[in-house]
């Protein structure tokens, strides 16, 4: 959490759902102090696991990026939301997103996976799909490079390979083949 705060540029990470409350609470607080101008609210999509892990559900939340490039980080952070009372579970709620940054058309996501963030095989598969879908909702993102503690790893959680980077076209094709 400290890591997030330190690189948070004044905006707090989207808060994980508390489990008790309903939808729509995922909007990050506008913790931005001394903003030069009022941020425009932006609607972003994110993906959560369907109750019994049958697949992913698409959800939307409104974020207020302090700058245009901050929208990516807020969208990725939204992956930690989940309305568990409604049977929607975040696949990323225990992960720590250290850095989210668009460089050219490549979105870098550097993250940490504490023990409790590590899922079983199908959980991993869905988690990767959820973050990739979230990243590729932005037309300008052509590829997603996920690093774990700054390192390229063969696999996020030890079952599926993690491409470096995940390329939009390949991801879309792979998803289509799954069906």
């Amino acid at each position: 959490m400290l890591l997030i705060a330190s690189c948070g540029r004044g905006t707090e990470p989207a808060q994980p759902a508390s489990g008790a409350s309903g939808t729509g609470d995922g909007t990050p607080e506008e913790g931005t102090i001394a903003k030069p101008e009022k941020p425009e609210p932006v609607t972003v999509k994110y993906y959560v696991a369907d109750g019994d892990r049958g697949g992913l559900i698409e959800r939307e939340t409104t974020v207020e990026p302090g700058s245009p490039e901050e929208v990516y980080r807020l969208a990725i952070e939204a992956l930690r939301l989940g309305d568990e009372a409604a049977g929607e579970y975040s696949l990323w709620k225990n992960a720590v997103f250290r850095r989210v940054e668009l460089v050219g058309d490549l979105l870098f996501v550097d993250l940490s996976l504490p023990g409790e963030a590590r899922l079983g095989s199908m959980g991993e598969s869905l988690a990767v799909e959820a973050i990739a879908r979230t990243a590729f909702q932005f037309d300008e993102v052509d590829a997603l490079e996920i690093l774990v503690d700054g390192e390229r790893v063969e696999s996020l959680m030890g079952h599926e390979e993690l491409p470096h980077p995940i390329v939009r076209g390949e991801f879309v094709t792979a998803q289509a083949l799954k069906q």
């Binding site: 019994d52 023990g115 079952h159």
Partner: protein, 488 residues
């Protein structure tokens, strides 16, 4: 030139007709008489027809295949019959008579493909399609060899003793036609085999009279065969066979890899005695012909460990810096995986038919592709990856994953045993794209034994007696699978 251009256009057109085919996930494998063939030109499935490369098959069974550049015709001949194919045409000329192909032949990258059924019918091959391994097996029925045409069988015995009297086959184990056992020693027999006896240790003695001229021994599978032309069994031995109405005699050994010796008057043109050593594995041997006796000495009768029938790779998931999932009881998944994998390994070691291997035997990280590579390089028969799951605390149960169609049956068998071992809810056999089950080349599964995020599951999975039970059931499943479906 115009002709070639037209042909190229034709070929290109044909390819364009089958665009989906190039994306087919797994081309079927092709075997001829048990050997894989057609590397680089696998069979294709086009519009529901299985198309196979004709040249590699035809040439392997003694046909010549000729394509004259500049034409769109291929001539396939064995000197007796002639098959003429025209690319893209739905029929072929067989000895001048037009026969339907079922689907047009086509050429891709210099390889001519024709429908599988046509190959079977016109080249006289038996065709067997195994949908699970996606393999095409072609078998060429072998005509009895002219020099060794027959297994001896007393007249009038054709219908009896079908069981247990499989006969000493030809080289590929096919039963052959009966040859009458002579009543007296045939005139062309220069040597007479008087007995066949085993010394109880490593040596087989074949005493004889006259001149013995044995052929070079040859292997048929794990059977060692010695043919002795211009020889006969002694009148006593033949009388003994006749009295028992048997076509062959046998000496039961049943020591380690040595099962028995069988012998027969195998042919009358010339008179030939055949001696077959039934072994469980190919053993080192030497043959020495001395005056009055032929000796076959084995170096050892022990079944070599690498000659055990099946290789099974056990993969303990995660390890080292990849701990896998944590359990609510404070353990790591990698510990569970390794503990069960070790137990499985130990149990499999006790089976004389199985050689077990582990991708990791301690707390080390092994890459996912490396794990699959280990199994592929070994030419393993089965691959079983052991894992435990994690999601929300309320989820409980067993899942078994497979990727390729050839792994579904293994998944189903092992899933059943995992349910029995754990008593946890059945969350099904599922298909997924995990590296170790996708990149392996043999039936491979990934077992998610239970949910470490669930109190009940986690407690169970870290109970020693339950781990023992899981290991025992995985082993029972592996054996059940191998018994039912065999190895790779």
């Amino acid at each position: 030139m115009r002709r070639i251009a037209a042909l190229l256009f034709l070929l290109f057109g044909l390819l364009a007709l089958y665009p989906a085919e190039s994306h087919a996930a797994e081309p079927p494998a092709l075997y001829l008489n048990g050997d894989p063939i057609g590397q680089g030109s696998s069979p294709r499935v086009v519009n529901n027809f299985t198309m196979v490369p004709i040249r590699v098959i035809a040439e392997d069974i003694g046909y010549s295949v000729d394509w004259t550049p500049g034409t769109d015709k291929v001539r396939i001949s064995n000197g007796v019959s002639l098959i003429e194919l025209t690319f893209g045409k739905d029929a072929a000329l067989v000895d001048g008579v037009e026969r339907p192909l079922g689907a047009p032949s086509f050429v891709d990258r210099g390889v001519t493909y024709v429908p599988l059924r046509f190959v079977g019918e016109q080249l006289g091959l038996k065709v067997y399609w195994d949908p699970y391994s996606k393999s095409v097996f072609l078998h060429q029925p072998r005509p009895a060899e002219p020099e060794l045409p027959a297994a001896p069988e007393p007249p009038g015995e054709e219908e009896g003793e079908a069981e247990g009297d499989e006969g000493i086959g030809t080289e590929d184990g096919e039963v052959v036609q009966p040859v009458e056992v002579p009543r007296t020693v045939p005139a062309d027999a220069l040597g007479i085999v008087k007995d066949i006896r085993f010394d109880g240790r490593l040596s087989v003695e074949v005493p004889y009279e006259g001149v013995l001229t044995p052929n070079e021994p040859f292997w048929s599978g794990t059977k060692l065969v010695i043919d002795i032309p211009h020889a006969s069994l002694s009148p006593e031995m033949m009388a003994d066979l006749a009295a028992r109405k048997a076509s062959q005699g046998e000496v039961i050994i049943d020591i380690q890899a040595f099962e028995r010796i069988r012998y027969s008057y195998y042919s009358n043109n010339p008179s030939t005695v055949r001696i077959v050593f039934d072994l469980k594995s190919r053993l080192d041997y030497s043959v020495s012909l001395e005056e009055g006796a032929l000796y076959v000495d084995f170096a050892s009768l022990e079944l070599p460990p690498d000659a055990r029938k099946y290789k099974v790779v056990i993969d303990a998931g995660h390890g080292g810096e990849d701990p896998g999932a944590p359990s609510v009881t404070g353990h790591w998944e990698k510990t569970f995986n390794l503990a069960v994998a070790r137990k499985v390994y130990k149990l499999l070691e006790e089976d004389s038919e199985i050689t077990p291997y582990m991708t990791r035997s301690d707390d080390a990280y092994i890459g996912l592709y490396e794990r699959a590579g280990i199994a592929n390089e070994l030419g393993a028969d089965l691959f079983v990856s052991i894992h435990a799951n994690r999601f929300e605390s309320w989820v409980s149960g067993v899942e078994t994953y497979y990727n390729r169609a050839d792994s579904l049956r293994l998944a189903e068998v092992l899933h059943k045993h995992m349910l029995k071992a754990t008593g946890l809810p059945d969350r099904g056999v599922r298909k997924a794209n995990f590296v170790v089950i996708r990149e392996t080349t043999m039936p491979a599964v990934l077992l998610e034994s239970g949910y470490l995020s669930n109190q009940k599951d986690a407690k169970l999975l870290f109970t020693e007696s339950v781990q023992d039970r899981i290991a025992a059931e995985i082993v029972a499943g592996i054996k059940e699978y191998l018994t039912t479906y065999g190895g790779k």
